[in-house]
Subunit: 269 residues, 2 copies
């Protein structure tokens, strides 16, 4: 089954647009627990509440080869009906991009990946060629500095627009396998609104609620498509680190349940 079909099934079965970011940070985790055991506890506690999991590769790479091993085992542990997005933000040329695609899709076994568009579309194609996999292209990210370049006004197709809109227009045109999504931060709701108006059918991966301060209601109202879906709301720290005590998994479940229901309360369905 393709990533987006699997995602839509998980959205329905768990009645959830919530994605939990599996970002194990040793400075925030409960003491005395390893990455893999931490992740397993989080997955056990939340797997009936989420539409996807999104491990960010940085936190695993920081632990070297052991971290990669933990990431691979984490992905294998996630129930098969819950899709996994490898948050890798990769971007490289030709044969190198193919090696990255092999790493995330074949070696790690993820169902989708995040990629960076700065190097151009020929660097994204090796990911898109995996037609059953999802490819989320960074568009307007959730950090303060995202405006540095993403919001610069460019001339594109004879019109003036912010760079991130040019990225999305091009993405829409290149979406021959129907496996492209966009990453747009909850911290910029006006941009999210404009993007949904311009691209009614593209799936949006939306980080930035919770610790980063994005407005949840606006993210759902502006981001959701006409079916009240088409968005994945990611939360990492707010859920993973709801408690640093022995009750961390139960606290994560409570936080995930609360956020899932808060998202659903904003949906027009």
């Amino acid at each position: 089954m393709s990533f987006f079909s699997q995602l839509n099934e998980a959205i329905k079965s768990n009645h959830s647009l919530l994605c939990v970011g599996l970002d194990p940070d040793p400075t925030l985790m409960p003491t005395g627990i390893g990455i893999l055991d931490f992740n397993k506890s989080i997955i056990d506690a939340t797997k009936d509440l989420v539409c996807a999991y999104k491990p960010n590769l940085a936190f695993y790479e920081a632990e070297g080869a052991r971290g990669w091993e933990a990431l691979k085992h984490t992905i294998a542990y996630i129930p098969k009906h819950i899709p996994v997005i490898a948050d890798a933000k990769r971007g490289d040329i030709g044969n190198t991009a193919r090696a990255y695609a092999k790493a995330v899709f074949e070696e790690l076994g993820a169902g989708a990946v995040t990629v960076n568009p700065y190097l151009g579309f020929d660097t994204i194609e090796p990911f898109l060629d995996y037609g059953d996999k999802g490819v989320f292209i960074l568009c307007r990210t959730s950090n303060k500095g995202s405006a540095d370049f993403q919001s610069l006004t460019v001339e594109f197709n004879g019109r003036q627009m912010p760079l991130y809109q040019a990225v999305a227009e091009r993405a829409d045109k290149e979406n021959r396998n129907g496996n492209i999504g966009m990453v747009i931060g909850a911290t910029c709701p006006e941009e999210l609104n404009a993007m949904r108006q311009a691209h009614p059918d593209l799936p949006f991966l939306i980080p930035g609620v919770g610790a980063q301060g994005g407005d949840l209601r606006l993210a759902v109202e502006y981001g959701a498509d006409q079916r009240g879906a088409g968005i994945i709301i990611n939360s990492s720290r707010q859920i993973l680190y709801a408690s640093r005590g022995a009750d961390f998994a139960q606290a994560a479940r409570s936080a995930a349940l609360e956020l899932r229901d808060a998202i659903n309360a904003c949906r027009r369905i």
Copy 2:
């Protein structure tokens, strides 16, 4: 010693601006040899001919945890006086960028890294904070698709310029630790020329000669600074895969020697 001091020492002692890209591709390597042994043979054969080595992380990640282990051992095997650039092209926000910086500088032990500017400068700062490490920012890359977004005209500081120039202007301004370099492909010599005129002192990492078709003479003439240095010319496939036979290391040495001398013949020193 800082990365750029070490680089300048290696440039002098090996009389070389050549960087060998350690990109082990199993489809091109001699059969029956592992990544680490292949790299060791290449390093042994070329270590007196190069100013730096540049492993691209993609080729190691494609092999999973074993690949990461091979990368770490490869970097440890490189003689201490030859600097190492981790070609990672990373870019992510806040605490995630810090995890990537930890991965490349502390876990892998690289002296420099390549980073992607699309997410903005707050995502590059965690790398720049390692003041003794080098940070090469992607500016104008060597692939065909690099024009898709990098060459779009933007308004920046009240003037019109291509996006990649805006990235370089901002980089020059943020270079308080003096540890920034730029990545500019040999495949776009006019852009390289304009960049050197505008930024006489920034070090340039230049991929794209050899297999990608960049003109070596123009890359050196346009890219070099007033001292006839300030550039690192990278070559990967042309050297690594000069032969697929048992003589691959000797063939790599011959190719590296030839390219080093060809580069030096173009220097105005």
